[in-house]
């Protein structure tokens, strides 16, 4: 499965208070980690809308990492517990879609854990590399481009999503 030439595309959603600060710390300490992981800052891991994760996969991500404060340490008291519940839901959902749940990872990293965050990122990159590229042709119907398929699904539900003033 593992292919040396495969360079995974990974999006990481980091919460502002713990894990984003940890990534800053990893930088300050010059701890190197895989450049294949690209970072989006959110105020809280609780802001990570499941649709963000799905959109990342739809756009071609091979993995999505969500990182927040340790349970009990959330800057917003308890919102990371909601992230935890959503993570379970998303994994279940991904599996139904034919995407390996292992492509989604939840990490807790405190503001002091730059080293740990960098290690977690590298571990995840290695794991995604083992999984190989996310193969959309297996996931979606043959011959349909993934973006078209996404649009198609959205169009199908357009009526239901329309706002009644």
């Amino acid at each position: 499965m593992s292919d040396e030439t495969f360079k995974p595309k990974i999006v990481a959603f980091l919460c502002n208070w713990c894990s984003y600060t940890a990534s800053d710390l990893a930088g300050t300490a010059r701890i190197k980690y895989s450049p294949r992981v690209r970072i989006i800052r959110v105020m809280c891991s609780g802001r990570v809308d499941p649709s963000f994760v799905l959109k990342a996969f739809a756009l071609g991500a091979d993995g999505v990492l969500v990182a927040g404060c340790h349970p009990g340490d959330c800057h917003y008291i308890e919102q990371n517990y909601k992230t935890m519940r959503r993570d379970v839901m998303l994994r279940y959902f991904l599996e139904q879609m034919g995407i390996e749940p292992g492509r989604l990872r939840l990490v807790w990293a405190s503001a002091a854990e730059g080293q740990y965050l960098a290690e977690s990122i590298n571990t995840f990159v290695a794991d995604v590399r083992t999984l190989g590229p996310l193969n959309w042709s297996d996931v979606l119907h043959d011959g349909v481009r993934r973006e078209e398929a996404f649009e198609e699904i959205a169009a199908e539900h357009a009526e239901a999503m329309e706002v009644q003033p």
Binding site: A26, P35, I40, G46, R47, K55, H75
Partner: protein
């Protein structure tokens, strides 16, 4: 909101940060890349964007080229986002139309390969450009600040911070867990390197706290819960019953003499258990407030409901005793909180080879402080357990510090207090003193001079770690008599056995056992070793990630008294700065509900930890109180109809960022 594409004019600025960024990323290529991104009107790179000329560049371009969005590819937004927001505002652009691409901490410093660094920087930059196109101007919002501060912990750090704030004319609430303020400093006999008597310099400050009209002192009290946020904290304080009315007691201490227990028989924790006290007691003679406290575990009146009450009789018409006193919770509103909860001494009984707790004449340094203190259990006489004076004393450095098995860090004060103890032992007895050290760390003002002085006084120094403390052969395992320290003398290059009759363990300073619960209550973090984490190790040493919560003293890291006092004053100044501003800006990234889209399902209401969302039953919609919302965005992520939105983190903003980021080569 800008609706048509023609109107968007984005300015992109790539910072070299000297060679920090330019050394790892081809900034010219990155600028060229930016130029071809949609809506980018101009892209520049400059050596130091955060410097005045860099900011001026942004301001000039906004005016000259009519830029209406700014992207700066530089260091973390946690550092210079406010700088560039202000620059934009100075040039007449709304401050929230600025986005930072973090290409230093998250690209330049963490990526080895230059090509890969450029690709990642391009992705982060493209993400920022696409995101900022979606930004809308926002109004800044402010709330009033409660002009009062709370100081938690009444050691020297808390005392200093409280006095500084009170002297500046601000109201302070000082909370202390023990019956008296004073903390560890009150336990010490002398202080290094000047040999000032600790009580002589501390007790005037303690009295000043008590007398200060701006300070409300809550001793024998703990913080129960902290709610609210910067400017408006609501703190619940649990006040334990003293069973004596603080306002009626005059501190004559006659109740202690009058107690039916004619002899003190319970260990006094302040004396490290070396001294004894009665059920009604005071930790030390200069305690503030000078009000005794009744121990409900051993007082006969409280445990059995029956006692002759010699204490009440002695109190007489002052009538201060209240055996029916109950624990109570009081609530205080404060604008800022200074956490000064201090440290605890490392318990060396977990290191088996030093024999602490096994051999009676192995002491901790804190125990010896109490023995040397004139107010201590022996009246200041340094004696062994059997009452005799020691003739040979060994001092073991780095007990629990600089040891991979216990604490990796250096506790910073042990070398100096061990030298001080060596001096005091020599002063009070004729004993030979052996200091066994790894290195002597004496980097403070007057420290090296003090080290030289103690060496000249005839204290012996052995460079090496003590491997073992055992009884002298043939004296039994209790070792009432002699002890042998086995030490690897690294200067002589041989193992030495040193006969002593007292061993003093220079124990580490460590985070308090309940530091983890305390930090959670105050919404702050710990660093790896467990001390409270400051916002920035160099530039924000007293702030924490939770705005309005400040740190002072040894709860942040092991430190000596001068550093503690300096940090306490710094924390007081920060608190003063905060509460004197009168108002504080709210987080701009609050959530709000689009009334037209809200179906009134109430999903969001249960998710909010601040009760900021309420249901408007008449209109069948949810309403978010902007003053209560802290801007986590959890409700936004959960809203099934997309009606809940977040300023600065709108769905389309994050989605555009994601699209830009997925620009993989």
């Amino acid at each position: 909101m800008i609706t048509s594409d023609e109107e968007l004019r984005i300015g992109v600025y790539v910072c070299h940060c000297g060679s920090n960024i330019a050394g790892a990323i081809d900034v010219e290529a990155l600028t060229k890349f930016a130029e071809q991104l949609p809506h980018v009107a101009l892209a520049r790179h400059y050596k130091y964007m955060c410097a005045d000329p860099g900011q001026e560049l942004v301001k000039r371009d906004i005016v000259e080229f009519g830029l209406n969005r700014i992207v700066v590819a530089a260091c973390s937004p946690n550092l210079h986002e406010p700088t560039f927001r202000r620059a934009a505002e100075d040039a007449g652009l709304n401050r929230f139309l600025v986005q930072i691409a973090n290409i230093r901490e998250q690209v330049a410093w963490v990526t080895e390969d230059k090509q890969e660094a450029l690709e990642k920087a391009e992705a982060h930059l493209a993400a920022a450009v696409r995101r900022v196109a979606q930004h809308e101007p926002l109004q800044r919002q402010f709330v009033r600040i409660v002009p009062r501060a709370m100081v938690v912990g009444g050691g020297i750090a808390g005392i200093q911070a409280a006095l500084t704030l009170a002297d500046a004319g601000r109201e302070v609430i000082l909370v202390e867990r023990e019956p008296s303020i004073g903390g560890h400093m009150a336990m010490f006999d002398k202080t290094f390197p000047t040999l000032d008597c600790a009580a002589c310099i501390l007790t005037p400050k303690m009295t000043a706290v008590k007398l200060h009209s701006n300070i409300k002192m809550l001793t024998y009290s703990t913080v129960e819960s902290v709610e609210g946020s910067v400017g408006n904290f609501r703190v619940k304080v649990r006040r334990k019953p003293r069973y004596i009315d603080e306002n009626l007691c005059v501190g004559c201490m006659q109740c202690i003499d009058g107690c039916v227990f004619t002899k003190a028989k319970f260990p006094n924790a302040f004396d490290q258990g070396l001294g004894l006290r009665k059920p009604v007691w005071i930790p030390f003679p200069q305690a503030v407030p000078p009000v005794p406290v009744v121990d409900p575990e051993v007082c006969l009146q409280i445990t059995r409901g029956k006692c002759k009450q010699g204490c009440v009789e002695a109190c007489g018409e002052r009538n201060a005793f209240r055996f029916d006193q109950q624990e109570k919770i009081e609530e205080y509103e404060v604008g800022a909180i200074i956490v000064a909860t201090g440290f605890q001494a490392f318990d060396p009984s977990v290191i088996p080879y030093y024999g602490y707790g096994k051999y009676p004449n192995v002491y901790t340094s804190l125990e010896v402080e109490r023995l040397l203190n004139a107010g201590g259990p022996t009246g200041g006489k340094l004696v062994l357990r059997d009452g005799s004076t020691p003739k040979r004393v060994g001092i073991v450095h780095c007990v629990g510090s600089r040891d991979a098995n216990y604490h990796v860090y250096c506790s910073r004060v042990c070398c100096m207090y061990a030298l001080k103890l060596a001096h005091l032992v020599r002063e009070k007895t004729d004993a030979e003193v052996y200091n066994c050290y790894i290195d002597i760390r004496a980097p403070g003002k007057g420290f090296e001079e003090f080290y030289n002085r103690v060496q000249n006084e005839g204290v012996r120094f052995i460079r090496g770690k003590v491997a073992d403390v055992t009884p002298v052969a043939g004296q039994g395992t209790t070792a009432e008599g002699g002890l042998v320290m086995q030490v690897d003398d690294t200067l002589l290059g041989k193992i030495r056995q040193i006969n002593v009759d007292m061993v003093i363990l220079a124990v580490a300073l460590e985070p308090r056992a309940d530091a983890n619960e305390v930090r959670r209550e105050f919404g702050i973090s710990c660093s790896a070793e467990g001390f409270f984490l400051e916002k920035h190790p160099k530039l924000a040493p007293v702030n924490t990630a939770n705005d309005g919560v400040l740190l002072a003293g040894a709860c942040q890291a092991a430190k000596d008294i001068p550093d503690t006092v300096a940090q306490a004053d710094a924390a007081a100044a920060k608190a003063l700065m905060l509460i004197d501003a009168g108002q504080i800006e709210l987080e701009p990234n609050t959530a709000w509900v689009d009334e037209k889209m809200c179906s009134g399902c109430k999903t969001c209401i249960a998710l909010c930890p601040y009760q900021a969302i309420r249901a408007d039953e008449e209109r069948k919609i949810a309403v978010i109180d902007q003053a209560l919302c802290k801007g986590c965005g959890t409700c936004v992520a959960a809203c099934p109809s997309g009606a809940a939105k977040q300023h600065l983190f709108a769905d389309q903003q994050v989605n555009e960022e994601l699209e830009g980021l997925m620009n993989y080569v």
